[in-house]
């Protein structure tokens, strides 16, 4: 029983990280109608930005976090303007393939700048908090609280602001958004700000929970997509729900199968969802 609760906690931590990535994948799919395969590497990039700011110029974690999020959002806009923007109107497959290319470029860039070794934000062993026989790291508490704070901010943005509503409107029906007078190009730029920024946050949290490595984000891409699809792609709230389900299921699965098979659990859940309810939990778009 204790094992179960302990794994549940780890599952929520993993789910929070996946959620930040899956929201971005879902938003991009909703607005731009293509599966963004470079999303994992945007996470990696964000994590390394924060690494340079903390280890390189000794900023405290919070300002480094904010700056890395902003920098990654800026890179995302740059990629969109220089590449995806020019390909818009082509088949979604062409955008998807080009995003695989972007993924490889970002990963190589990270390897060239920061090397291929593992890195950590802070060395040394952290004392974990213990209560009722359960263990949790202080950073894990921060990850969950941080992720949920960001999700609440996103929720307020989508529900309360003019631009957030326009983003939902464009995801519903891009043509109608355009002929209603919505500046769809501005919505697209803000989509990248949010998706890129949240990807950086996910990458930094992942780095805090484990360590930094050039393929850390790429390895997370499958569960991130599984979460987005499970929740209903195009639906940011579905992505959060899907991420928690996938994260918890992955951790709980270690009770019965080898931990190295964890990603297979995400894959199995995604495939099951696509077979039995292709629109996902929250009735998203059909791929």
């Amino acid at each position: 029983m204790l094992d179960l609760v302990q794994l549940l906690i780890y599952g929520i931590v993993l789910g929070s990280i996946l959620a930040l990535g899956a929201i971005g994948v879902s938003l991009i799919f909703g607005i731009l109608r293509f599966a963004h395969f470079a999303h994992g590497d945007l996470m990696t990039l964000g994590a390394y930005f924060a690494f340079t700011l903390t280890a390189g110029i000794s900023l405290p974690m919070l300002p480094a976090f904010v700056l890395a999020v902003i920098a990654t959002a800026a890179v995302s806009i740059g990629i969109d303007r220089s590449l995806y923007h020019r390909l818009r109107g082509n088949s979604p497959i062409i955008l998807l393939i080009s995003s695989v290319g972007v993924a490889l470029m970002l990963r190589s860039l990270v390897q060239m700048i920061w090397g291929t070794d593992n890195q950590v934000y802070r060395s040394g062993v952290q004392a974990s908090l213990e209560f009722a026989g359960l263990r949790i790291q202080p950073t894990q508490v921060m990850i969950v609280l941080g992720a949920f704070a960001l999700m609440i901010l996103l929720h307020l943005f989508l529900q309360r602001t003019r631009l957030g509503k326009a983003m939902r409107a464009m995801s519903d029906n891009a043509d109608l958004a355009r002929l209603s007078g919505i500046d769809t190009d501005r919505v697209i730029i803000w989509t990248w700000v949010i998706a890129g920024g949240l990807a950086a946050a996910a990458g930094i949290f992942l780095g805090m929970d484990t360590r930094l490595h050039p393929i850390m984000g790429w390895k997370l891409l499958l569960p991130v997509f599984a979460a987005a699809i499970f929740g209903g792609i195009g639906k940011p709230y579905g992505a959060v729900a899907g991420a928690l389900v996938i994260g918890i299921a992955q951790e709980l699965s270690t009770l019965v199968i080898e931990p190295s098979y964890k990603p297979a659990v995400a894959f199995a859940l995604m495939v099951a969802m696509l077979i039995f309810r292709p629109t996902g939990l929250f009735r998203g778009k059909v791929l």
Partner: protein, 234 residues
């Protein structure tokens, strides 16, 4: 000169031309109806006016400005709004949010216009917090027209506003269309219920194969033998 004037429009979706010379005028405060057989290019003509179909030849003028091939999100700022036939609401947004999106380009307070739209369509008032996708076809059409009314346009383009509606809603929507016109809004409408539409129109155009075939006052077209035989079911 008319508020909206299209001269000899030719163009289509990139392949063969669908419009082979369509000309039409809409004056301020007028109701103008386009009728014609299926495939005559009625909806295409309307889309061409609104920058949704590439105009290869010909000009569209609106309120003194050349708006030929202008992007729709800029045309609305000039005071012309468009209600597509299908997919004309944001299904996951609430009724109120749908109307807000219609006023997206307005940075001022538009609560008075919002109140006017709710006065025009009272059933929407109780549904304002419900997702537009959950509404009945008739109420959805109200949301669609209401959204386009949020900018208080000089001209409203309606593409088959009664398509797929029950007879009760057809009458209701057409009545509201007349109310909108009485507020001084010019209306250009493609309509399947040709008799009903011509009866309320100031003028009408009959398109065939992407070209003007007849035009005249609504009454006159209704009584025209050829028009009656071809499109009004005898």
């Amino acid at each position: 000169m008319s508020l909206l004037r299209a001269e000899d429009l030719r163009g289509g979706y990139g392949g063969a031309d669908i419009l082979n010379g369509v000309s039409l005028d809409v004056d301020a405060g007028e109701i103008v109806v386009i009728i014609g057989p299926n495939g005559a290019g009625k909806s295409t003509a309307m889309k061409a006016l609104f920058g949704l179909v590439q105009v290869r030849e010909g000009r569209v003028n609106f309120d003194g400005d050349d708006i030929t091939n202008m992007a729709p999100n800029r045309i609305v700022a000039h005071g012309m709004c468009y209600v597509p036939q299908e997919h004309n609401v944001f299904p996951s947004l609430t009724v109120n949010e749908n109307l807000e999106m219609g006023a997206f380009i307005r940075r001022d307070d538009f609560s008075d216009q919002l109140a006017r739209v709710y006065d025009l369509f009272p059933p929407l008032k109780d549904k304002r917090r419900e997702a537009a996708g959950t509404l009945s076809g008739g109420q959805r059409q109200m949301v669609a027209i209401g959204r386009a009314m949020m900018l208080d346009p000089k001209i409203l383009l309606l593409d088959e506003p009664t398509a797929g509606l029950s007879p009760r809603f057809i009458d209701l929507i057409l009545e509201r269309v007349r109310d909108i016109n009485e507020q001084g809004v010019g209306l250009l409408m493609v309509e399947q219920n040709a008799k009903q539409a011509l009866a309320m129109a100031h003028r009408g155009y009959v398109l065939v194969l992407g070209q003007n075939r007849h035009e005249g006052p609504g009454e006159e077209l209704l009584n025209d033998r050829e028009v009656a035989e071809m499109f009004l079911g005898g």
